[in-house]
């Protein structure tokens, strides 16, 4: 589904990604771990198409298409979703209006008709129930005055509504208490299928207890320096990152 080849990217002449290679297939869950500043968020931003980052080398192929040629919204229309580490506030725009616009713009981008209002409403009800969100939540301004946990839950709600092929969760666990973590993870797990893939970016093993990865990668100084199965996450939890740093010094 996603093939990243020797990807290099910089921001303001500061090289952050120094040759990433990664292949993700449908049905898989990958975890990307690593110390602060290793390039995890940059990688997710580059996949989503944030303009601030300049790709200097390499390629990203998504379902046989060159992703780097597409605008961020076109990538979204193809089924790429990024759950933001810091979701933005949009005052005066309700959660329901926002998600309705997002869904219909995506459908338009794919040459489909807008979703029927009734279907939309039913879907909103179903997904907000899945994430154990109060009804009033849909008519609140997007992320305005939301707690950290509510913001993250809102991200996963949108993910559930948009049903992406590839979901990237950028530190979705930060700022969540244990109950919210369980709810969010449950939402993600419900979405998992043989047709889609999830990338979980995190510092901690904690989230991976709920969303079980098939592969774990360690990102350090702009490169994937180690890959393995779920046991690698446990090892990192026990030993920290110092040994990784030492190995790559």
């Amino acid at each position: 589904m996603l093939k990243i080849k020797d990807l290099k990217a910089q921001i303001e002449d500061n090289q952050i990604l120094k040759g990433i290679n990664l292949e993700i297939n449908a049905g898989e869950v990958h975890a990307i771990m690593g110390p602060n500043g290793s390039g995890k968020s940059t990688l997710s931003s580059v996949i989503a198409g944030r303009e601030d980052y300049e790709v200097t080398d390499g390629a990203i192929d998504f379902d046989g298409e060159d992703l780097l040629d597409l605008d961020p919204e076109e990538r979204a229309h193809k089924g790429i979703f990024l759950s933001f580490q810091y979701p933005v506030e949009i005052p005066g725009v309700t959660v329901s209006n926002f998600i309705k616009t997002a869904i219909n713009e995506s459908r338009k981008g794919r040459g489909q008709e807008p979703m029927e209002a009734r279907e939309m409403l039913a879907k909103m009800r179903e997904k907000s129930a899945l994430l154990e969100m109060d009804k009033s939540y849909l008519s609140r301004s997007l992320n305005e005055g939301f707690s950290g946990g509510e913001k993250k839950r809102n991200e996963i709600f949108q993910m559930a509504m948009l049903e992406p092929k590839l979901a990237i969760l950028d530190e979705t666990d930060s700022g969540l208490d244990i109950d919210a973590l369980r709810i969010v993870a449950n939402g993600v797990n419900k979405l998992r299928s043989k047709d889609n893939a999830v990338v979980v970016i995190t510092h901690y093993q904690r989230l991976l207890d709920y969303i079980k990865p098939d592969y774990v990668h360690v990102l350090y100084q702009g490169k994937i320096v180690k890959s393995g199965g779920p046991e690698l996450a446990h090892e990192l939890e026990e030993r920290g990152y110092d040994w990784i740093k030492a190995e790559n010094a």
Binding site: P72, E73, A76, I90, I99, E105
Partner: protein, 478 residues
Amino acid sequence: MSDEILDEITASDYKYGFTTDIESDKVPPGLNEEVIRIISAKKNEPDWMLEWRLDAFRIWNEMEEPEWPNVTYTKPDFQAISYYSAPKQKKELDSLDEVDPELLKTFERLGISLDEQKRLSGVAMDVVVDSVSVATTFKKTLAEKGIIFCSMSEAIQEHPELVRKHLGTIVPKRDNFYAALNSAVFTDGSFCYIPKGVRCPMELSTYFRINEAGTGQFERTLVVADAGSYVSYLEGCTAPSRDENQLHAAVVELVAMDDAEIKYSTVQNWYPGDAEGKGGVFNFVTKRGLCERNAKISWTQVETGSAVTWKYPSCILKGDHSVGEFYSVAVTNKYQQADTGTKMIHLGKNTKSTIISKGISAGKSHNSYRGLVRVGARAENARNFSQCDSLLMGDQCGAHTFPYIEAQHPTAQIEHEATTSKIGEDQLFYCNQRGIGTEEAIALIVNGYCKEVLNQLPMEFAVEAQKLLEVSLEGSVG
């Protein structure tokens, strides 16, 4: 925001820039007593009206054009303006069939089909094209309730006692330079009277349109709501594209008697000038309302047009327990300049006012809020709440806030909140990531930002205003 996006913002063209060929009856340019006599004679006005105009002209001659607004422009050459232009259409019209087809086409291009308006929304419209009303509808329904809704010219002929009683009482001739000029040369406008205890059954609406190159438009509007009555009045305008600046100096006076309520909504979309800041309408307007006991006046405006705007719809809260409201969205783009706000003058006891102002600046424009809240010496327990927000798009525009507060009574409660924000890369990228293109994203963000004001507009007007906001900031995006 990237430069590319900014370039596109400033490249947005005025959608309604076209002219219609309608035969005009026009007075040669220039302003003197003779021109005023001609205007008055052409309109077959009574002597008192002519005298009133001449008096205003003499006052205007002694006045100086004001310098205090935060705008810069080349002052109009008042001797180069033609002060009267009427479509050649003298006879009274009973139906749209009798209206010049060219004129109807103009309205269609604006998406304002009278027919549709009449049929769908039950809105009675008094259409002003180049100063003379050409179509008035729903008059009969209104007449049954005793409501008078007609052109100012007609009111001067048919209801001189009402006009004489109220004209210039809220905005006196010597109020300001442009009010004096308007008083001297106004050619038409709308007049509305709601009798005691009557609730006007429909929104009253006027579409203004400047339609003649080099013609200044001087509208005069007077709305009188008698005791216990209610009226909602809509005013909207678009203007065709012109190279030279056009002057629009309107005066609107509202009288809300005891327990009466007037809701006055405006959507303003005069030609803002081209991408280099050339041309565009000068919009120097005086709007003011007077509230008697327990009366309420609510101004709502969506201002997207004009090269220079200078406008402060105000309320004089004379009566005890009276209420004044001001809800405003002002958008400036390219080289537009707006200095707009309100004045809330609390004179009576227990008077209340609310000000919600939302400024949006893009391109190289400047957007100023200027507001005065004054609590007089006898205005016990006066309360005001003001909220002035500014939204910036790009880094070449400016937003300014000039709040003036004068409290002469110790019980006054005045609150002022102000915020400035930017449509950030972060917001746009977030929307993009969810599949929403930048143009739709800006429309979404801007409409959310203006929601409190748009909510105040009558339904059909709100939709139009929303569209207008999108058009004004269109191309704002890649």
